[in-house]
């Protein structure tokens, strides 16, 4: 009896403590939403109002129309989709080769992949910038896609190889006897069986591409061609007190990711320990 009451008290105590912590954690988001609904006169009102007195969606309209965040949203979407599809495709091919074949350069090539998995993303930015100039992809979204593919392949390959190695080989051997080529096996057996791992990789690649800022800010100078993170940061740089509009734009950028996270929670949890290698 006593134990039961103790346990009950503990459950309530922990829940209250965790709820307080969770409130502190999400409060900045609540405050961001609240600010995005305020006119410019109210963003530094004293005392700050958590529930705006005269809420307005004008910031969202302005962001989407006169400040072209609609265009930037679609730029980000394009870059993210193309990057994700190509990374998952190429990385799964590499992973299949590393998991299922023995070849002369297997070890050195795999170490190369591991090496770039650990290499901090920003370290090569100077030569990559010079290369982007040479290839004339400055101020082009393609310049983003090209580097994002290269940067995301190592970790995705590493993850997928680990998964493919766990897939039992019997099915493939049966298919081989029936005369299936390596490509058939990759396309019809390996890919369908690796769907959960492909989804996990796709999620962290798209998250990375959607949020990437440093490279995009370095090679995109023309306001016509921007992705959301660059546009938001640049907007804050030039209109540094229009916080309502900055946060309206920020919310359009983070909402898809948060929805994706809530829907695909399971894959996020799987992907994070792997995705964390890059910090």
């Amino acid at each position: 009896m006593n134990r039961k009451i103790m346990e009950r008290a503990r459950q309530i105590g922990y829940t209250l403590l965790l709820a307080l912590g969770a409130f502190i954690t999400i409060f900045p988001f609540i405050y961001m939403i609240s600010t995005s609904l305020k006119g410019p006169l109210f963003v530094f009102e004293l005392p700050p109002q958590i529930i705006p007195k005269q809420p307005t969606i004008q910031n969202f309209i302005n962001a989407w129309t006169s400040n072209r965040f609609g265009d930037y949203f679609f730029n980000s979407l394009k870059v993210t989709l193309i990057t994700t599809i190509l990374v998952v495709w190429f990385a799964s091919m590499m992973a299949y080769a590393f998991a299922r074949f023995n070849f002369f350069l297997k070890k050195p090539l795999f170490y190369l992949v591991m090496f770039f998995m650990m290499m901090p993303a920003m370290t090569l930015i100077v030569p990559q910038f010079i290369l982007a100039i040479k290839l004339k992809v400055i101020d082009h979204l393609s310049g983003l896609v090209l580097l994002y593919i290269a940067q995301n392949i190592p970790l995705a390959t590493f993850l997928l190889r680990g998964f493919i190695e766990q897939v039992p080989v019997e099915i493939e051997e049966a298919a081989k006897i029936d005369g299936a080529s390596a490509w058939d096996i990759y396309w019809r057996i390996i890919l369908p069986l690796s769907l959960p791992a492909l989804a996990t990789s796709a999620i962290f690649v798209s998250l990375g591409a959607w949020d990437e800022y440093v490279w995009a800010m370095t090679i995109l100078n023309n306001p016509e061609v921007r992705t959301l993170p660059v546009a938001i940061a640049a907007f804050q740089g030039t209109h540094n007190s229009d916080w309502g509009l900055i946060f309206a734009a920020s919310l359009t950028a983070i909402t898809p990711i948060i929805l994706l996270f809530i829907v695909f929670q399971k894959f996020f949890v799987k992907g994070i320990s792997a995705g964390a290698v890059k910090g």
Binding site: R10, Q11, Y14, T15, L18, G21, A22, T25, P28, Y31, F44, L46, P47, P48, M93, M94, F101, F104, L109, F116, M119, P120, M122, T123, L124, I125, V126, P127, Q128, F129, I130, L131, L146, I149, A150, I153, P154, L207, W210, D211, Y213, V214, T218, P229, I232, A233, Q236, W243, I246, F247, S250, A253, I254, I257, F261, I272, S273, A276, V277, G279
Partner: protein, 301 residues
């Protein structure tokens, strides 16, 4: 027969080809180029000569007070944020693990900052730490809690700016730590705890003598991964203080970026990149060495 064998040998290379082209062009070639740049006083303009200077840039770093200050700042940032994320993340995970109801919702709520872009949360903290009396943190500490007597211009001075940058770093990473520790906790064998409680161990004893020792390998791994992430801090610094005032809040990467794209000192900047990469590789080696035994004992994460 021989040609057929040769074709067979070729197959894995064909599968590697598309990915390897991207790696070679955008990572391997730039890597060689970066080494080359770091050994020269590099001029980006075609036609200008770039004198070879050997290891001079690496020596330059050793006597550059701004580099040392950036290195110190990076170390402190790692120390403070990793400690904060670990203590909070582990405590929260231990509590969530004991809950009968609400595990999923707390996991989602604490994880939200992790999935939000660095650009957005950096600007958000910049706004919260605004120097005006109506900046939210000033309002909270002056008008609500009465801890401060007057509003603080947080971001105008290095010491107070670090408070904002550190709190952002901790706030953003607690959920990540918590989710990994929670996963490890839920893999621990239940028998240990029931045996201990039959032997009369109270909760505190079973935490100190059973749970924490069993979690230790995961905690060490998380510690290393968080450190690797922390020494690569850039966006939060770039957007909140820009490394200012007078480089006093620079970290290695913000100083490296400044040297390359403001001073156009590509050579020196590239040598700093390699110094950072070396630091990260040393820490990664520790991770690789630890990860293997952990995967065998705890089933990995």
């Amino acid at each position: 027969m021989r040609t057929k064998n040769f074709q067979k040998q070729l197959v894995p290379y064909l599968f590697l080809l598309p990915g390897m082209i991207f790696l070679s062009v955008w990572l391997v070639y730039p890597m060689i180029q970066a080494m080359n740049i770091s050994l020269h006083d590099w001029e980006i303009m075609p036609g200008r000569t770039s004198p070879f200077v050997g290891l001079a840039h690496y020596l330059q770093a050793s006597t550059d007070p701004l580099f040392w200050s950036a290195l110190r700042n990076t170390a402190f940032y790692a120390l403070v944020t990793v400690f904060g994320q670990l203590t909070l993340g582990v405590s929260i995970a231990l509590m969530v693990d004991r809950l009968i109801r609400g595990q999923v919702i707390f996991r989602v709520l604490y994880y939200l900052p992790v999935v939000t872009s660095w650009v957005v949360v950096s600007l958000l903290f910049k706004y919260l730490f605004n120097s005006s009396p109506a900046g939210f943190i000033n309002y909270l500490f002056v008008d609500v809690f009465h801890i401060l007597s007057s509003p603080v211009p947080w971001l105008n001075e290095a010491n107070t700016a670090w408070v904002a940058i550190y709190s952002l770093g901790i706030w953003k990473g607690v959920g990540w730590t918590m989710v990994i520790i929670l996963a490890a906790l839920q893999l621990l064998p239940e028998e240990c705890f029931s045996a201990a409680s039959i032997d009369g161990a109270n909760d505190f004893q079973s935490l100190i003598f059973i749970k924490l020792p069993l979690l230790l390998p995961t905690i060490i791994l998380v510690f290393i991964m968080l450190t690797i992430g922390a020494v690569q801090a850039y966006i939060q610094v770039a957007l909140i203080t820009g490394g200012g005032p007078l480089h006093r809040t620079d970290v290695i990467l913000s100083y490296m970026y400044y040297l390359a794209f403001n001073d156009l000192d590509y050579g020196y900047s590239s040598s700093l990149s390699f110094i950072l990469a070396a630091i990260v590789f040393v820490i990664s080696q520790a991770q690789l060495r630890l990860q293997r035994p952990i995967e065998m004992t705890a089933g990995g994460n």
